[in-house]
Amino acid sequence: MNDIYMDNNATTMVDPAVVDEMLPFFTEQFGNPSSLHSFGNKVGFALKKARKTVQTLLGAEHDSEIIFTSCGTEADSTAILSALRAQPERKEIITTEVEHPAILNLCENLETQGYTVHYLKVDEKGRLDLNAYQKLLTDQVAIASIMWANNETGTIFPVEKMAEMAQEEGIMFHTDAVQAVGKLPINLQDSAIHMLSLSGHKLHAPKGIGVLYLKRGTRFRPLLRGGHQERGRRAGTENAAAIVGLGKAAQLAMDNMAHENSYVKNLRDKLQEGILKTVPNCFVTGDPENRLPNTVNIAFEYIEGEAILLLMNKHGIAASSGSACTSGSLEPSHVMKAMGIPYTAAHGTVRFSLSRYNTEEEVNRVIEAVPPIVAKLRKLSPYWDAEANAPMEEPEKSFAPVYA
């Protein structure tokens, strides 16, 4: 029996067609795209083609708006730091409490350098309050950076609308769309979004390639200065094979998106129903109405996520957990905290993120495997009444740690 991979928001398998497309760029087509000879020319041409495809995937107006970077994190950092350097008189940033660490840790660091960062809160379903956002839009703000879709819950934010609101106040708008690109239709030319980050390995391209979309006319200050690659906006010899791979992956994403939105979504819904029906005391986190088609994040109360993952792994099932213990920190996931999920549940969240490679048979196997795993761990839990097979009544009272 094959192992089951349901951790596609972490990373995806490189599509075999993408690998095929890349291979010649390690051997015959190894030229430096900046060189004038034919070796370089061929590669330069391939990059151009890939850039065009990414442009189409994002619905960008010009192919020159696509800047290849080394990863999503680099794209995020470039966007925010550029906005600050390009508008030195503006010292504020708007973002959300549930961003990826690529944004949050950068913002935290910028706070120590004298910038003010406004973190928008989310409600219990992970949704933003646009009124609160509106109030923050002033001429002090250099950039608003709001993720398109949350990596843990899949919750989608109304970034197009938010970009328009920012535009009215003359504020640059960036979106970390790492989880959205390839899963949701995107059309940047009609939007007020100035910058967007994407990461290749989330859409079946290899790791080590990302993109910063930069709307034409946006003031820009490069992060990496040096050679004239990417029109001087991102120096460093291009990762040609990976870029070509990303081009192919972008093509495949466009071809598959409609199908995926129904096929993957059906599988996801089946998985969700199957688990919720058979496992007591669990619930879906995030906004079920407005969510990536491939993601479901389930909180299993009174047990801890890492323990669940280890047992699932033994059954050949790979998923992921926002639990503290998988990261070595003691805090539960910042996303769960921001939504106000109680600790007894926040530590036991498991994220299943599917892709076009998952099958119905796999979903059935997961639905079968999960209930006994949860039951086994709950038997060990001091918050669970094994005899009644239910949570202890008032567990906080009967279980009284010396320190809490």
Binding site: L309, T326, L330, P382
Partner: protein, 320 residues
């Protein structure tokens, strides 16, 4: 995913003594919901002999928390409660063939649950001496509150000092930025500016640098440590006396682990000691030396550096 030993996996997949002991006469609850780990240890102790007849655990926690709890119950069954209390969290980790550094707190929890259970059995109150904060140093499980308090209480001004006082930063050094940030804030609060030390020329040199050197002048910004400082300047003989006394206090702890320590030489701020028995080559030798160093600093009320050497190394050092 963590690199767990086979032993950890064994105890996780097939935990021993899971569940509450039926007729327990001792219960120890520890943990913190926010940290996602909680442990209840139940014991059945023979009231005549104080021997632990049975032990059971319930854990809300990760793989290593479950494995640590399972290991602990196996280790203490059949022991006298006094014997059981001697089990350290390191013993639990050793029993499991080691835990990842980030997971050492799981073994600490096991030890604390045991203390709580024994206190409960004896009808004693156990005080909560826990401070909670974000984990700064994962290698030594030191949290922010601990670092901050130590920096404040001792007017520390360098990462090196923080390491000497708390051990934080003494391992992989990936937490140095976080420590520097705390120093920056704390020093700002007392009206000083944190200045990073110049980059050391080469790490390798440091190891060879056993030669006694001129004591480094105290950085002007750093006031003398606030620890109980004997008034006036100490003579060398006085200092040696204080050091000997402090070592005598630590000795029983080391001897319990079949080790010992001996003072070889004092040269300004450099104190050379010899580790004996089980302390030699012990994985925890750095921690032990750190502990000794801290103890000596407290006793002397000054900053000193403790270096473990052999007699041979010492003659080379001092003789040349």
């Amino acid at each position: 995913m963590w690199d767990y030993s086979e032993k950890v996996k064994e105890h996780f997949y097939d935990p021993k003594n899971a569940g509450a002991v039926a007729d327990a006469n001792a219960t120890g609850d520890v943990g913190s919901l926010s940290c996602g780990d909680a442990l209840r240890l139940t014991l059945k102790v023979d009231p005549e002999t104080d021997i632990i007849l049975d032990a059971g655990f319930q854990t809300f926690g990760c793989g290593s928390a479950i494995a640590s709890s399972s290991a602990l119950t196996e280790m203490i069954k059949g022991l006298h409660v006094d014997e059981a209390l001697k089990i350290s969290n390191q013993d639990i980790a050793d029993y499991l063939d080691g835990l990842p550094p980030e997971k050492m707190h799981c073994s600490v929890m096991g030890r604390e649950a045991l203390q709580a259970a024994v206190a409960n059995y004896r009808g004693e109150e156990l005080e909560d001496d826990h401070e909670e904060g974000a984990l700064v140093c994962k290698c030594f499980a030191i949290d922010e509150v601990m670092v901050r308090d130590t920096v404040r209480a001792n007017n520390l001004s360098s990462v090196e000092e923080v390491t000497n006082y708390t051990k934080a930063g003494g391992g992989c050094s990936s937490c140095h930025e976080a420590i520097e940030n705390i120093l920056t804030e704390e020093m700002a609060a007392r009206g000083e500016t944190f200045v990073a030390p110049p980059i050391a020329a080469s790490k390798k040199k440091k190891v060879v640098k056993l030669k006694p050197e001129e004591p480094k002048p105290e950085p002007a910004a750093a006031p003398a440590p606030a620890a109980a400082k004997p008034s006036g300047k100490l003579t060398t003989v006085q200092r040696i006396k204080i050091i000997e006394n402090a070592l005598a206090e630590i000795r029983p702890t080391l001897q319990r682990d079949h080790g010992d320590v001996e003072l070889l030489d004092v040269d300004g701020k450099n104190i050379y000691v010899k580790l004996i028995g089980a302390c030699v080559g012990c994985q925890l030798a750095t921690a032990t030396v750190g502990g000794i160093q801290q103890k000596l600093m407290e006793a002397l009320g000054e900053f000193v550096k403790v270096t473990p050497v052999t007699e041979e190394q010492l003659t080379n050092l001092v003789g040349v």
